[in-house]
C-alpha cells in the first residue's frame, strides 16, 4: 500500500489517489484531491478576502444543518454542494471554518476518518450539570445510548450483541417489539447509532450461527467522557468508581494502566 503511494507521488499525477477517492464520491463528479500549498496560494491571489469569508460562512452553515441528524459530513458532499469552484483554496476555507467553529460556537470539527474524509462536530466545552437541567427538551435516545455505551465500557470494550439485548429487555425495551418511546429498537441501535458513529456493530469471526458484537464508535470515543460514566455508575450502585479497578484505569489513562495483555500479578 505504502509503496504504491510513493510511486504515485513521484509520477506527479495522483491517479491512485483519485481511484481511492472515487470510492467515496459520485462517479459523475471529478473526484476531489487535496490541492498543494502552491496551488492554494495561486488560488487565493485570484479571489477577494470577502469571497473566501463568504464561502467559509456557507460551509459553516452547511455543516451545522447537516449535524442535526448527527450523521457525519463527507468532504465530497461539502465540495460538491458548497465549495464548488473554490475547491483549489479548500484548505484555506477549511482553516477559517475550523476557526469559526472553535471561537464563535465553541465546537470542534474533527475528521474521524482520514481515508474517507468524514467530519463530525463535537462540543469543546464540558457539559455542566446545572445547565443541562434547565434545557427545554431532552432526547430520550441519549438515555438508551448511554446504557449501551456503559455496558460496553464496563465490559472493557467489546460486548456480544446478546448481552446488550438481554440488558435492554430487563429495562422493558425489547428489540423484537415496537417500543412506545423508541419505535423500532433494533433499527435504532444497529443502524442509526452506527451511522452516527456512536456504535460499531461488527461480526465476530468464526461464529456459527452468525453473531455480532458492539463496540464504541469513533464519535463515542471523542464525545463521551469515561470518568463521567464511571461516576454515574458509582452513584447507581452506591460504590466508589475506584472499586472497579480496571475500568477506572481505562477511564484515566494518565495513571499508566497496564493493558489487558499483561496480567497484573503485583497488584493483587
Amino acid at each position: 500500500m505504502s509503496q504504491r503511494k510513493r510511486l504515485s507521488n513521484t509520477q506527479g499525477a495522483s491517479q491512485n489517489k483519485r481511484r481511492s477517492d472515487s470510492l467515496a464520491e459520485d462517479d459523475s463528479e471529478v473526484p476531489f484531491t487535496q490541492p498543494s500549498s502552491s496551488q492554494v496560494q495561486r488560488g487565493l491571489a485570484r479571489v477577494s478576502n470577502a469571497q473566501v469569508e463568504q464561502k467559509a460562512a456557507e460551509v459553516v452553515q452547511y455543516i451545522m444543518v447537516k449535524d442535526q441528524k448527527k450523521i457525519p459530513v463527507r468532504r465530497a458532499d461539502l465540495v460538491k454542494h458548497v465549495i464548488k469552484d473554490y475547491r483549489n483554496i479548500y484548505p484555506e476555507i477549511m482553516k477559517r471554518v475550523l476557526q469559526t467553529f472553535s471561537q464563535v460556537f465553541g465546537l470542534e470539527l474533527v475528521e474521524i476518518d482520514t481515508k474517507a474524509h468524514v467530519y463530525i462536530l463535537i462540543n469543546k466545552l464540558e457539559p455542566h450539570e446545572a445547565l443541562t437541567t434547565n434545557q427545554g427538551s431532552v432526547n430520550p435516545k441519549t438515555g438508551l445510548l448511554w446504557v449501551i455505551l456503559s455496558v460496553i465500557f464496563m465490559k472493557r470494550g467489546a460486548v456480544k450483541e446478546g448481552l446488550i439485548w438481554n440488558t435492554l429487555k430487563k429495562l422493558r425495551v425489547d428489540p423484537g417489539e415496537r417500543h412506545e418511546v423508541f419505535g423500532d429498537v433494533k433499527k435504532l441501535v444497529t443502524d442509526e447509532f452506527v451511522r452516527q458513529r456512536y456504535l460499531e456493530y461488527v461480526r465476530i469471526p468464526h461464529t456459527e450461527p452468525l453473531e455480532c458484537e458492539f463496540r464504541w464508535g469513533q464519535r463515542a470515543e471523542l464525545e463521551v467522557s469515561k470518568p463521567q460514566i464511571l461516576h454515574f455508575m458509582g452513584q447507581l450502585h452506591e460504590r466508589e468508581p475506584q472499586s472497579w479497578s480496571q475500568q477506572y484505569r481505562d477511564a484515566h489513562p494518565s495513571l499508566g494502566a497496564p493493558g489487558p495483555s499483561q496480567p497484573s500479578r503485583s497488584q493483587r
Binding site: M64, Q68, N123, T142, V151, T167, H206, T207, W244, P263
Partner: protein, 348 residues
C-alpha cells in the same frame, strides 16, 4: 484440576489452579520434532497408496469433527470449569502426527484458527478480576433511578412481565442525567421558530360551519317522521270511510237491488286497487258497518248495515277471501266490469 500431560509438553503448558490457561504457540512444535525423528509409531509413509488415501480421509474427517465440535459447543467450551478446549488441542496434536500432505495440514491450520479465537475469548474472561460488572444488577438500579413504581395490588398492569410501573418520563429522566457524559454539539435550530403561513385558522372555520347544519337536520327528522306515521293510519281510516260512503250512496240509489260484492270491489284498471278495496271492505264488515250475504245465485252481495240494529240478526262468521290476477281478470270478464264502482283517490 488439569490432568498432567505426557512427556515434553508439560513444560510448555503450566497448570494454573483456577482455570485452563489459553494454550501457547509452542505446544505445536512438539509433534513436528517427533515426526522428523522416530517414525516407529507411524508407518503410513511406507505403506501402499490405498491405505494412505484411507488414512488421510480418516484424518480429514476427524479434523472436521474437531472443528465442528468447537463451533457447536462454543458456549460450553468458554466455561472455565472444563478443559474441553485443551482436550481438543491434544487430539489435534495426535492427529497431526500422521499428517504428511498439505490438504490435511490446511485443515489443521483451520482448526487452530478456530481454537485460538476461542482461546482469546477465554483469556478475556480471565481478566474480569477485581470488581466484575453485573448487567442484571445494573438494570435493576437503573429502573429505580428511572422512577420504577414497585406497587403491588395491580393498579397498573405489569409491563413486559416485570413488576411495577415505569412512568412515561422514565427515559427522559435517564437521558437528562446521561447527557452530562456527552460532549455533544448542540443541534442547530432557529431560536424564534420558523414562519408558518395561513393553514390553521381556515380549518377551524370549516369545522364550525359543518357542525351547525348537522344539528338542524337532525332536529327536522323526528317531526317529519311523526307526520308520516299519522298519515299512514289516517289514510286507512279515511279510505274505509270513503268506501262506506260509496256503499251507502249506491244502496240509497236503489235499495232493492243487491250490490254484488265483486262488482263493487273490482277495479278493472288496477289489480292492486282491487286488493286494497277488498282490504278496506273487510274492515267495514268486521266493524259491523256492512254486511255480506249470498243472493239467489249464491253470489256474495253487500249492503250497509243500519245503525241501531243489534248484532243478533246478523250471524257472525269469518271467512278468508283471496284473489289472484287471473281470478281478477276472470271476474272482469264474467261481470263485464268496465269501470270501478269505487273511484280511486288519484282520479278525484
Amino acid at each position: 484440576m488439569r490432568k498432567s500431560l505426557e512427556g515434553d509438553e508439560s513444560e510448555n503448558v503450566s497448570s494454573s489452579h483456577k482455570s485452563s490457561k489459553p494454550p501457547t504457540a509452542r505446544k505445536r512444535s512438539e509433534p513436528r520434532q517427533e515426526r522428523n525423528g522416530d517414525n516407529s509409531d507411524v508407518g503410513s509413509g511406507s505403506l501402499l497408496d490405498e491405505d494412505n488415501a484411507v488414512n488421510r480421509r480418516e484424518i480429514r474427517s476427524k479434523y472436521r469433527d474437531l472443528i465442528n465440535s468447537v463451533q457447536q459447543n462454543r458456549d460450553h467450551m468458554l466455561n472455565p470449569s472444563n478443559n474441553m478446549l485443551t482436550e481438543v488441542l491434544e487430539e489435534a496434536n495426535n492427529l497431526f502426527k500422521d499428517v504428511r500432505q498439505t490438504r490435511e495440514a490446511a485443515l489443521d491450520a483451520q482448526l487452530i484458527v478456530v481454537a485460538t479465537d476461542l482461546g482469546k475469548e477465554k483469556a478475556s474472561q480471565l481478566f474480569s478480576e477485581g470488581a466484575a460488572f453485573d448487567p442484571s444488577a445494573f438494570a435493576e438500579n437503573l429502573l429505580s433511578f428511572m422512577g420504577l413504581n414497585r406497587l403491588e395490588g395491580g393498579e397498573h398492569e405489569p409491563q413486559n412481565g416485570g413488576d411495577g410501573y415505569l412512568p412515561s418520563d422514565a427515559w427522559d429522566r435517564l437521558a437528562r442525567r446521561a447527557e452530562t457524559c456527552f460532549r455533544t454539539a448542540p443541534t442547530f435550530h432557529y431560536m424564534l421558530g420558523s414562519f408558518h403561513a395561513e393553514p390553521p385558522p381556515p380549518k377551524q372555520r370549516i369545522e364550525r360551519q359543518v357542525r351547525a347544519p348537522n344539528k338542524e337536520a337532525k332536529r327536522n327528522m323526528p317531526t317529519q317522521l311523526k307526520k308520516m306515521e299519522e298519515s299512514h293510519q289516517e289514510a286507512t281510516e279515511k279510505e274505509v270511510e270513503r268506501i262506506l260512503g260509496y256503499l251507502k250512496s249506491y244502496h240509497q240509489d236503489d235499495p232493492t237491488t243487491p250490490i254484488s260484492y265483486y262488482e263493487f270491489v273490482v277495479d278493472p284498471n288496477s289489480f292492486s286497487r282491487t286488493v286494497e278495496n277488498m282490504f278496506h271492505m273487510s274492515f267495514l264488515i268486521r266493524d259491523g258497518l256492512a254486511g255480506m250475504y249470498l243472493d239467489e245465485d249464491k253470489l256474495p252481495c253487500i249492503a250497509p248495515v243500519e245503525e241501531g240494529m243489534d248484532g243478533e240478526g246478523s250471524s257472525q262468521k269469518q271467512c278468508v277471501i283471496s284473489i289472484t290476477i287471473d281470478t281478477w281478470k276472470e271476474l272482469i270478464e264474467a261481470f263485464d266490469i268496465s269501470e270501478a264502482m269505487i273511484r280511486p283517490l288519484s282520479e278525484s
